[in-house]
């Protein structure tokens, strides 16, 4: 072993790799449990889903190894090429792809299929990092801003065209990256405000709501007028008009832009609809499975809801139900903690990068993983509407696991050799 490899081994952040391995292993255990139906089954049955997942885990480890030995400059140098390839794949999947669950997002090769949108997130992260780290880039300039947003929006729109709303939404996670690189805080606040106003507009009568906004803004103005010397009444008027128009628009958007299943999912979440047999079935069964786990869970392979298929999609998007039911509060909250640790760790690692490319990429990785975690678990515990995206490293699926492995290990490699990268 030469000196270079020795220093690589020394510099790799093993804690992240440990978390990765735990999540992947725990994921497989739960896929096994979700597929298990009471009869004893052979672990190495490669026709079963847990058997296939085992193959994909093996391949992922090879991918990880491959990425770790590759020259770290490879990805920064070829990032636009990779980005371009995936844009082409996203376009061609629209033409020749096969449809699964209403989304045309798969390339079918025999029994195996591959989902380019899973990889497109990583490619976009590379391209975004490349864009923002170029010598001429300056986030204060509109040119940089527009380029960055275009880099994000193009694949996002292509994924949206595939009718895969969940995966498209993941591109929103780049907002954290942009924020870190200098995007105005107001945009973050505005985004949060919009979500809040949207929910309120669905729950409360819109005219009543406008009345409430008027009262609140008026009170705020009267209160602040005495404290702050220079105050512009127009700011308040614009806020009021803006929020009122937004409120009025929500109804229109909800009725005319969203599709029926999306409306249903939002209404179920907000408690406006309680249809346990129809649109509310998934979430209700998911909450039952998780809630029945108790503190310690029912134990491995003892989850009745899991074993007997009461929860749909339980090895993919609803895998967290299996964790919740069989491993209880202990297992599920540890899973949450592991994800938060991983994301926080990635942010911390991104900050220690010497190259801007690595930092932007690191933030992208953290944001993408966080967004998946946030949406997926939020959905299974009934805090977010049903949006079908996998839980990173845990959900069943080759494309997803490989894409996240690539995504993560490219950054681990960058981090390991951060001293050499400027």
């Amino acid at each position: 072993m030469d000196r270079k490899n020795k220093s690589l081994l020394r510099n790799i952040d093993w804690s992240v790799i440990l978390i990765y391995l735990i999540l992947v292993f725990f994921g497989w255990v739960n896929i096994y449990a979700a597929v298990y139906d009471g009869e004893s089954s052979e672990i190495l049955d490669f026709s079963s889903r847990y058997g296939k997942q085992l193959i994909w885990i093996g391949a992922s480890l090879l991918i990880a190894l491959f990425v770790l030995v590759l020259d770290p400059k490879f990805f920064s140098q070829t990032s636009f090429i990779i980005y371009g390839i995936f844009l082409l794949m996203l376009i061609s999947v629209l033409v020749v792809g096969s449809e699964t669950k209403g989304a045309k997002s798969w390339f079918g090769i025999g029994d195996f299929g591959i989902q380019p949108s899973e990889f497109a997130k990583g490619a976009t992260a590379l391209a975004l990092a490349k864009t923002l780290s170029s010598v001429t880039a300056d986030f204060k300039k509109w040119k940089t801003r527009i380029t960055a947003i275009a880099v994000i929006m193009i694949p996002m729109l292509l994924v949206l065209l595939q009718n895969d709303t969940g995966s498209a939404l993941v591109f929103c996670s780049f907002v954290f990256v942009l924020y870190r690189e200098g995007m105005s805080s107001y945009i973050l606040i505005l985004g949060a405000a919009c979500i809040l106003l949207f929910i309120l507009a669905l729950l409360v009568n819109q005219y009543l709501l406008i009345g409430i906004y008027f009262t609140l803004i008026l009170l705020a103005y009267l209160f602040l007028r005495k404290k702050v010397r220079k105050i512009n009444i127009w700011t308040f008027i614009i806020i009021f008009i803006g929020s009122s128009l937004f409120t009025l628009a929500v109804d229109f958007v909800f009725e005319n832009v969203l599709e029926q299943h999306q409306k249903d999912r939002i209404e179920v979440l907000l408690g406006k609809k309680e249809d346990f047999k129809g649109v509310g079935y998934n979430v209700n069964q998911s909450k039952i499975a998780i809630g029945s786990g108790g503190v310690l869970g029912k134990g491995f392979l003892n989850g009745t809801q899991t074993k007997f298929n009461f929860v749909p999609e339980q090895d993919t998007d609803f895998i967290f139900c299996t964790i919740g039911e069989e491993w209880g509060f202990v297992g599920s909250s540890l899973t949450v903690i592991l994800f938060i640790l991983l994301c926080a760790k990635l942010v911390k690692m991104a900050e220690r990068q010497r190259s801007k490319f690595s930092r932007v990429y690191g933030y992208s990785v953290a944001s993408i993983i966080f967004f998946h975690f946030f949406v997926n678990i939020g959905m299974t515990i009934g805090l977010l509407p049903v949006i079908g995206i996998p839980l990173p490293f845990i959900s069943y699926g080759g494309s997803s696991l490989w894409a996240f492995t690539f995504l993560l290990f490219i950054f681990i490699k960058q981090d390991a050799q951060r001293q050499e990268l400027i």
Binding site: G294, T304, F310, A344, R359
Partner: protein, 617 residues
């Protein structure tokens, strides 16, 4: 590489951590604080199958089966799990119409969409076989095996009773019962319900989302076995019961036979009766309505519930009470003075024995007069109240006017009037002349046929009786249990010498010239009896109580034929003698007589028309 925005990592990390905390709090709520999800999960995946025990069997005194169980199937439905099915095929398998199908599903949904309810009940083995093969196709449906009662000889309906579905009230009062369970509604089925029913068990099975069974829950740790009900060994002689029912097939009235020294009931017929198999299974509803609408009241258990006037059979009791009070002696004679009360033509009785034999009404008018018009030792005056209360007590000790604690439900007390009753009834005062009808078993006296048979047994035993009962013992073949209350002797506290006088009189009734029941005579068997002819709305009832043989009696019988023209000696007495002959000899040798009494129906057709005056024998 630090730059001006590096502090924003704190905001981003904070957002991550806040989301993490929110999720953990939410998980804590779902998994720890709110336990409703565990319940819902069990509702999803656990199905509680009730294991029904087989109900105890009932045997006759010779070990012949009176009631047994046969398997039928209830088709259960869980509406929530019902998917698209081939309704036409399903309906034709069940032999129901599509309209019925929709109605039944709606009814089940109304009860609960999650919990199973009965879709179609009591499908016979034959009908179930083709359905069973295809049941897997119908998600949400499954079968539960139940048992129904069957009666091989179709007899003894009023003894055995019937079972039926528990009503809401019983379910509320007794948590053992669940909707759709069966419970004894009458007869032995009711009085021995807790012994017969056994104990339900339950089996918990896991089911998957498609309602397929997935094995037992926790290896059956929480399953309980059903414990079969215990058998009853009754005192009924099925051959005698069948014979008595054959005689009563076209009549109204009762036959009750008791083994005097044990109190065991040998046969117990209330006519009209019905075939107990009619009140079983799916035909039950229709049949029950038909039976309850029937003007002749086949559901009414006359043996226990009909408070008849006893008529002249009550004269035995009167004689014994009077002798014991000392108001007459065995040789007291009274002339047959028809101005006091009507009578038939016979020589005057010069002693108690002859008075019984000839059933002289004026004689017992005098006897009862002496019983009632007694000198009260406290006041030294003649006091009807004193006399009557003494009489009431004595009559009650003979099993009249008190509830005989038989092991069947709904037994009446009958009625023996007392001073309180007459004080209320005649606020202006009363005396012997207002109540004299009781002397000959008319008036206010009411006696159920069981009490008549019990009284015959009391005389047969010369002074004591054991409460009549139907079940000798119950439980395991080798470890049978017996109620102690059915070995206790009840004494009527009348001096033993007087019983022989009554017995002699009763022997005379059957065997001597001038006796009122010569038709009850059987060769080789000394029958002692007493006729009665009870006045009522329609034609007189024909009554006879008897026991035989005179020494070491084996059987005491009461026969009561409603509205049978001709009196006790004409109908009830010969019928009772047939029962005695059948029991003691095993077969009836008087074939012509037997044929006549089986075929002839003396009962006045219903509805009754009020008749004018008749005289008593």
């Amino acid at each position: 590489m630090k730059d001006s925005f590096s502090s924003r990592r704190i905001t981003i990390t904070a957002i991550f951590i806040i989301v993490g905390i929110i999720y953990i709090v939410r998980l804590a709520h779902l998994q720890i604080t709110d336990d409703s999800y565990t319940r819902l999960a069990n509702k999803n995946a656990l199905r509680y199958l009730t294991q029904y025990p087989s109900r105890g069997l009932i045997y006759d005194r010779n070990g012949k089966l009176l009631v047994y169980n046969e398997a039928v199937y209830d088709l259960m439905v869980i509406p929530r799990q019902v998917k698209e099915i081939d309704t036409n095929e399903f309906c034709s398998l069940l032999k129901i119409t599509k309209k019925d199908f929709i109605k039944k599903i709606e009814k089940a949904k109304k009860y609960s969409t999650y919990a199973p309810s009965i879709f179609e009940k009591q499908i016979s083995k034959e009908d179930f076989a083709p359905l069973q093969e295809k049941l897997y196709k119908y998600e949400g449906f499954y079968a539960q095996s139940r048992t129904l009662r069957f009666y091989p000889d179709s007899v003894a309906c009023h003894i055995l009773g019937y079972i039926g579905e528990v009503n809401e009230k019983t379910i509320e009062e007794n948590p053992y019962y669940k909707k759709g369970d069966y419970i004894g509604m009458s007869g032995l089925e009711k009085s021995y319900e807790e012994i017969l029913r056994g104990k339900k068990g339950s089996k918990i099975t896991l089911v998957d989302v498609h309602n397929r069974e997935k094995g037992s829950f926790q290896n059956g740790m929480f399953d309980t076995m059903a414990i079969a009900g215990e058998n009853l060994y009754s005192t009924i002689d099925i051959e005698l019961q069948k014979y008595a029912e054959k005689i009563m097939a076209n009549k109204r009235g009762c036959i009750v036979a008791i083994e005097p020294n044990t109190g065991e009931i040998l046969c117990f017929v209330s006519a009209p009766y019905y075939n107990p198999n009619l009140l079983v299974g799916r035909v039950r509803g229709d049949n029950y309505k038909k039976l309850s609408d029937d003007i002749s009241k086949p559901l009414f258990n006359r043996v226990l519930m009909a408070e008849y006037p006893p008529g002249s059979i009550f004269k035995i009791a009167q004689s014994l009470i009077a002798l014991d009070m000392g108001v007459i002696t065995p040789n007291t004679g009274f002339g047959c003075d028809k101005s006091l009360v009507g009578c038939h033509n016979h020589p005057s009785a010069s002693n108690v024995r002859d008075a019984i034999k000839m059933s002289c009404n004026p004689y017992f008018y005098r006897v009862f007069q002496r019983v009632v018009q007694r000198t009260n030792p406290k006041t030294g005056k003649i006091d009807s109240k004193y006399g009557l209360s003494q009489w009431t007590e004595a009559a009650k000790r003979m099993g009249f006017g008190t509830r005989l604690d038989i092991d069947l439900p709904s037994v009446r007390k009958g009625y023996i009037p007392d001073t309180t009753f007459y004080n209320k009834w005649y606020p202006g005062g009363w005396n012997f002349y207002t109540i004299y009808s009781n002397s000959i078993g008319q008036g206010e006296v009411g006696v159920i046929p069981l009490q008549m048979a019990n009284f015959a047994a009391l005389v047969a035993n010369r002074g004591w009786y054991i409460t009549p009962h139907i079940v000798r013992n119950f439980g395991d073949e080798n470890k049978k249990t017996k109620y102690t209350k059915y070995s206790e002797k009840h004494y009527s506290l009348i001096a033993s010498s007087y019983w022989d006088i009554a017995v002699e009189g009763m022997w005379g009734v059957v065997h001597e010239a001038g006796g009122t029941a010569r038709r009850a005579k059987i060769d080789d068997i000394a029958v002692c009896g007493k006729t009665g002819t009870a006045e009522n709305i329609g034609d007189d009832h024909s009554v006879f109580i008897c026991f035989a043989p005179k020494e070491r009696p084996q059987i005491a019988v009461a026969v009561y034929i409603e509205n049978a023209q001709g009196g006790g000696g004409t109908w009830a007495a010969p019928i009772a003698s047939l029962i005695i002959e059948k029991h003691i000899k095993g077969k009836v040798e008087r074939e012509d007589m037997e044929k006549y009494y089986i075929e002839t129906n003396p009962c006045q057709p219903l509805p009754l028309k009020r008749k004018i005056k008749t005289k008593k024998k």
